[in-house]
């Protein structure tokens, strides 16, 4: 059940490279959101101003349920997101959310539970779960993000860790300046692998390359891979996941109209015909998609 609300901006913190961290007061959305879902934001100077007309989809970067806050990580890409990033704390924005089908987490519950159960079997079959220090089965999970694609992975990682998974993050960017999410991942007490195109921090090269190298290390075979980033990166992820037989989910971007599945404006190519990124996704099983 999605909500429409006028959310107060509680904080607006500029990070590097035109990316801002926005806190929005939206208690119902914070309470019901699942990782991978998004909010759809009206970016306009006034309620009766008609341009920009369409909402902007932004992933839920994290939630602070207690404070009733949704956190967003927004890159000023065009006029809508730049407007958003210029909002002063105290101003309000109109939100729809939480929208879309989120990541199917491991050991989670909720709408996707059926599929998650199926996964648990599959994970065990693949031998990917292994005993942790306490002897319990703690599945290993990779999250991989390129650029602003890191945004939805923090919320996901937090929930995965909370539900007992061992999570490792692979974070890629052009350079050290544009790396995102390091702080958040580190606070979750997980291993973070870093790759930069220019080598200014971490591995010098592509983040998927770095992940492939890690996969070659014995005992580092994940039960699940979650990825978000540019199309080229996801294409490469797809190949390594397919090769390694790793169950994999990706979050896609497409220009959106309604954000709720009604207008068919956000189609991507599914194996069995067009899929709606907003309602059938934005998170898809790799196998659902046709590339």
């Amino acid at each position: 059940m999605p909500f429409q609300c006028e959310a107060r901006v509680s904080e607006n913190r500029p990070l590097d490279a035109g990316v801002h961290l926005l806190g929005l007061e939206a208690p119902e959305i914070a309470a019901s959101a699942r990782p991978g879902q998004f909010v759809h934001i009206r970016c306009s100077g006034g309620e009766d101003f008609r341009d920009p007309l369409l909402r902007r989809p932004i992933s839920i970067h994290d939630v602070d349920g207690a404070a009733g806050r949704v956190l967003l990580m927004v890159r000023g890409a065009g006029r809508g997101t730049r407007w958003l990033n210029a909002l002063a704390p105290g101003s309000t924005v109109n939100l729809l959310g939480p929208l879309g089908r989120g990541f199917d987490r491991m050991g989670g519950s909720g709408a996707g539970a059926g599929r998650e159960d199926a996964f648990r079997v599959e994970a065990t079959r693949a031998g990917a779960s292994r005993a942790d220090a306490t002897g319990a089965v703690a599945p290993l999970v990779f999250v991989a993000g390129g650029g602003i694609g890191v945004a939805p992975l923090v919320f996901l990682a937090r929930r995965l860790v909370a539900s007992g998974s061992r999570v490792e993050a692979f974070v890629g960017a052009r350079d050290a300046e544009t790396l995102l999410g390091l702080e958040a991942f580190s606070s979750l007490d997980m291993l973070v692998h870093i790759a930069t195109d220019d080598g200014s921090m971490g591995y010098h090269g592509n983040v998927v390359e770095l992940m492939e190298k890690t996969l070659a290390t014995p005992g580092r075979w994940p039960a699940r891979l979650y990825a978000c980033g540019p199309r080229a990166m996801l294409g490469r992820i797809r190949r390594s996941a397919a090769l390694g037989g790793i169950s994999c989910q990706v979050s896609l971007e497409e220009r959106m109209g309604c954000g709720v599945g009604a207008c068919l404006g956000c189609a991507c190519r599914g194996k069995e015909g067009p899929l709606r990124v907003c309602a059938d996704g934005p998170v898809f099983w790799m196998e659902e998609l046709s590339w």
Binding site: R50, L53, V260, C263, L264, G265, A267
Partner: protein, 328 residues
């Protein structure tokens, strides 16, 4: 203030009820085809029973996969869409969606399209047998022959031919949905009226295009798309005003309606009902707000019955007509 009744200043409820080609609408606010899916997608946002009616996504005989992405581009106060009539086909509409829609008390208008006159007729015939369909809206703005470039809706004779064929295959009221991409909208309107259309809806989208200047190519997967949203409203109001004067059948006005004020422009231009389209994508509650706003306006103005406002700005009421293309 539900079901089309708005408390009047004096306490009397303002009536929003209108009759449209024999269909009683509890209020004149519909949602436009292609912008509201099959109702399902918005059922979570509010009670669909509040709507005057729903025009469902355009339906063809066979399923269609639609156009490649991108299918949408935002333009100043508007959008271009090139969805490509993606739909599961008329059988899936009947089996998959009509049962859901039958649960609500609102007019269900099936929007139909085809690549040939025969296909239109066949879709019409299939729907004629179905309970819960209030009317057929015939979209004559789609291609005659792919690649041929001549659309049914841009030639009066072809437009009439489609309407006649549909009429022969259904007892349901037939609404002809006109394309605005024509020199003379009145000629098309008269032609479909003569062919038996029970109502006319307009406007469909204006053909437009946007270019990605860095990639140096059109943005839309289909190169061109249909322009809708507030940007086109002045063109739509003008066409409704022209057509409403020229035909006797009722007109359904649409094109850029976001608020009750916008809807009232269409009603005063002669529309018996209006449809909210692109606005749904921006504000899921748009149609409801239009309905509430109509009631509020009537109370403010002391109007008891919305039918008093239909055509209020037509020549017969304002005492003058338009004298020509003397616009600057």
């Amino acid at each position: 203030m539900v079901n089309g009744a708005a408390a009047n200043e004096g306490g009397r409820a303002a009536s929003l009820e209108v009759m449209l080609a024999g269909i009683r609408l509890k209020n004149p606010v519909l949602v436009a085809s292609g912008t509201f899916g099959y109702g399902r997608e918005y059922a979570g946002w509010y009670d669909l029973n509040r709507l005057g009616g729903i025009m469902v996504k355009g339906t063809t005989l066979h399923p269609r996969q639609g156009n490649p992405s991108p299918r949408l581009v935002e333009t100043p106060s508007g959008i271009l869409n090139a969805v490509g009539l993606q739909n599961p086909g008329v059988d899936a509409l009947i089996d998959g969606h009509l049962p859901f829609l039958r649960r609500f008390e609102l007019a269900v208008i099936a929007n139909i399209a085809g690549e040939s006159v025969e296909e239109y007729a066949e879709v019409a015939a299939k729907l004629d047998r179905e309970e819960g369909v209030s009317a057929l809206e015939v979209n004559i703005s789609c291609p005659n022959v792919r690649g041929g470039g001549l659309a049914f809706g841009t030639d009066p004779a072809t437009a009439a031919e489609v309407i006649r064929a549909v009429k022969r295959h259904t007892r349901l009221p037939v609404i002809a949905k006109l394309s605005p991409n024509v020199t003379d909208i009145v000629a098309i309107a008269r032609s479909v009226e003569e062919a038996g259309a029970d109502a006319i809806s307009l406007i469909n989208t204006l053909v437009g295009m946007a270019i990605d200047i860095r990639a140096r190519k059109p943005i839309l997967g289909n190169i061109m798309g249909g322009l809708s949203g507030p940007a086109v409203r002045p063109v739509a109001v003008r066409m409704v005003w022209q057509v409403a004067q020229a035909v006797k059948v009722p007109v359904i006005g649409m094109g850029g309606i976001m608020t009750a004020e916008d809807a009232l422009e269409f009603i005063m231009a002669g529309a018996t009902a209006v449809a909210v389209g692109t606005a749904n994508l921006v504000n899921p509650r748009a149609a409801l707000e239009v309905i509430d706003g109509l009631g509020a306006f009537m109370n403010e103005q002391g109007i008891g019955d919305i039918t008093e406002l239909i055509g209020a700005a037509l020549p017969e009421h304002i005492g003058r007509s338009w004298e020509g293309y003397d616009d600057y």
